[in-house]
């Protein structure tokens, strides 16, 4: 694979970029082709299928009485199979959040140029047990006006665009 100037610029080498580009120094570039097709299993599979339907489903453990999302086939605390499937609401409260000036590749967002900071949040979902929820994004809100306990609601993609993925919910926005 051809080595580009930008690849060299990112390295800590003391060599001059040009020396590498001219082939005066051996360099190897290898982009791994690693592909996986993870089997979701019944719990995550149903969870995703219901997102496609525009609903959030949880699973209940009748021993510790937790209503768990994401759902699971067994209760990791009671060590027993879980019981009923139960639908929960698509509303909840903000447990914790950040105002992020960097994206997932650690790239700087052009905040001064008017780009809105990204606001990831953990949302405790109404109907699920306390502390259980969804890691998602907040939007349609001033990043600096988010507060702990803020009530939010899912903003869904249109039905025809949903594929059974966590991104079928575009983001959560404040209600009231």
């Amino acid at each position: 694979m051809e080595i580009m100037e930008k690849d060299v610029a990112k390295t800590a080498t003391k060599l001059k970029t040009q020396q590498i580009l001219e082939g005066k120094v051996l360099s190897v570039k290898w982009e791994p082709n690693l592909k996986y097709a993870w089997d979701n299993g019944p719990a995550l599979g149903r969870y995703l299928a219901e997102l496609k339907n525009g609903r959030i489903i949880a699973k209940k453990c009748n021993k510790c009485h937790r209503i768990m999302i994401p759902p699971r086939m067994f209760c990791e605390l009671c060590w027993r199979p879980t019981d009923e499937w139960v639908f929960v609401k698509d509303t909840g409260i903000v447990n914790t959040w950040v105002v992020s000036y960097v994206d997932w590749k650690a790239g700087r967002l052009d905040i001064k140029g008017g780009v809105r900071p990204i606001t990831p949040a953990v949302i405790e979902i109404d109907g699920a047990s306390k502390g259980m929820g969804i890691l998602h994004l907040l939007d349609e809100v001033d990043p600096w006006k988010i507060y702990r306990g803020m009530r939010v609601k899912a903003v869904w993609k249109p039905a025809e665009e949903r594929i059974g993925a966590i991104t079928d919910i575009k983001y959560f926005k404040p209600i009231e």
């Binding site: 690693l34 592909k35 299993g41 086939m73």
Partner: protein
């Protein structure tokens, strides 16, 4: 006097080419539930857990963080070994010897069917400067080793083919195995060439599954189990990784790992003192090479012994009565787990139609697959 440690519980899902209905979570949960039931324990009784996972095989970086839930190990001592299952077993064994606890759990899982670019993944294990630029298939490494092994020992392709025939036949009567079939040696010899002398049928197909094993210190083991299977010796070893400098004919890593285990077990004549073996046969010739490395056969003897039926279930020294990797499937980091499971089933008299008569000591051996030179061995007695 060193403490004695026994396997008091085993659990598995069995092994199949694909498991599209279950995630790795449910696979391990099933194996763990069965193992705990078998041992008569609950997760709360376990002092520590060791899981086995390779990030690239799972497709997660830091895959070990995903281990606790399905083992009942949430908020308990647990760590993961990125090696073979028997490495994890050794680690748990040492924890008992060192007094950290009396009950340990070891887990391994394969979701090989989920790896879509297996060949690229194995190539990625080769040296980026010396090897990868040559763009050779990882199976070339196995083919070259097979060629050198055959040259130095006089082993024939027909003898290697006989390993495939035997193991795939044994798998037919093992309900846990997923790749049983009745074939003759010609079918193997005439199957598609991959890296001559290696053909498609000389290579183990892959399988999914999970194994969980419960270990206990002697006193606990005797109080919980009426058929504890004792760990008599355990060993592990790695040769140089260099494809340029390694011994291409002999599995030195298996030899040294086995000698470590023999010494611990007080075994001097393995062929006489051990009744049967589950050895790594990811490629047909590997079964023969490993038998010779572990002194179960002399150099050049494993092929003829196999040809004469000496390693069949009713032979003088049964090898891979379960069906081995060829008949059960290549389980990657779980390979050693399957070997241990099958030795325990035999020693307990629970191997069904594949049950061997009057066995008291068995050996389980594993290898980390191409391009590695790492092997593990454990000797078990009832």
């Amino acid at each position: 006097m060193t403490k004695r440690v026994a396997i008091i519980g085993i659990g598995t899902t069995g092994f199949r080419a694909t498991t599209p209905d279950l995630s790795y979570r449910e696979l391990t949960y099933e194996a763990a539930t069965k193992a705990y039931l078998d041992a008569g324990i609950e997760p709360k009784d376990v002092d520590a857990f060791v899981s086995t996972a390779e990030d690239f095989f799972e497709g997660y970086s830091i895959a070990d963080e995903y281990s606790p839930d399905q083992l009942g190990a949430v908020l308990k001592p647990i760590y993961t070994i990125p090696g073979d299952f028997i490495h994890s077993l050794a680690s748990a064994y040492m924890m008992i010897l060192s007094g950290i606890g009396d009950i340990m759990v070891v887990q391994g899982m394969s979701k090989a069917s989920n790896m879509l670019t297996l060949s690229e993944l194995v190539t990625f294990a080769m040296d980026p400067i010396y090897n990868r630029p040559l763009k050779e298939s990882p199976h070339a490494v196995a083919g070259m080793e097979m060629a050198r092994f055959m040259y130095e020992t006089g082993t024939t392709r027909e003898q290697c083919a006989k390993v495939v025939v035997k193991n795939k036949k044994n798998a037919l009567t093992n309900p846990l195995a997923g790749h049983g079939v009745l074939i003759d040696p010609d079918y193997v010899l005439n199957s598609e060439i991959v890296s001559f002398p290696l053909t498609q049928m000389d290579i183990s197909p892959h399988s999914d599954g999970a194994v969980v094993v419960v270990l206990a210190e002697e006193k606990t083991a005797k109080s919980l189990s009426d058929k504890p299977i004792w760990i008599r010796g355990i060993g592990w070893c790695s040769d140089t990784p260099g494809l340029e400098t390694r011994n291409w004919a002999e599995a030195v890593y298996a030899q040294i790992a086995a000698e470590m285990a023999y010494k611990m077990a007080g075994i001097r004549y393995p062929r006489k003192e051990i009744n049967f073996a589950e050895v790594n046969d990811e490629f047909s010739y590997k079964e023969l090479q490993h038998l010779e490395a572990m002194r179960i056969c002399k150099k050049g003897e494993a092929g003829p012994l196999t040809e004469m039926g000496g390693t069949e279930i009713d032979g003088e020294f049964p090898v891979n009565p379960s069906g081995g990797c060829l008949g059960v499937g290549n389980l990657y980091e779980l390979n050693g787990g399957h070997k241990v499971l099958e030795v325990v089933r035999q020693l307990r008299g629970e191997a069904g139609k594949n049950q061997l008569k009057d066995v008291t000591t068995g050996i389980a051996q594993s290898w980390r697959g191409i391009p590695t030179t790492t092997g593990t061995v454990v000797i078990l007695s009832n």
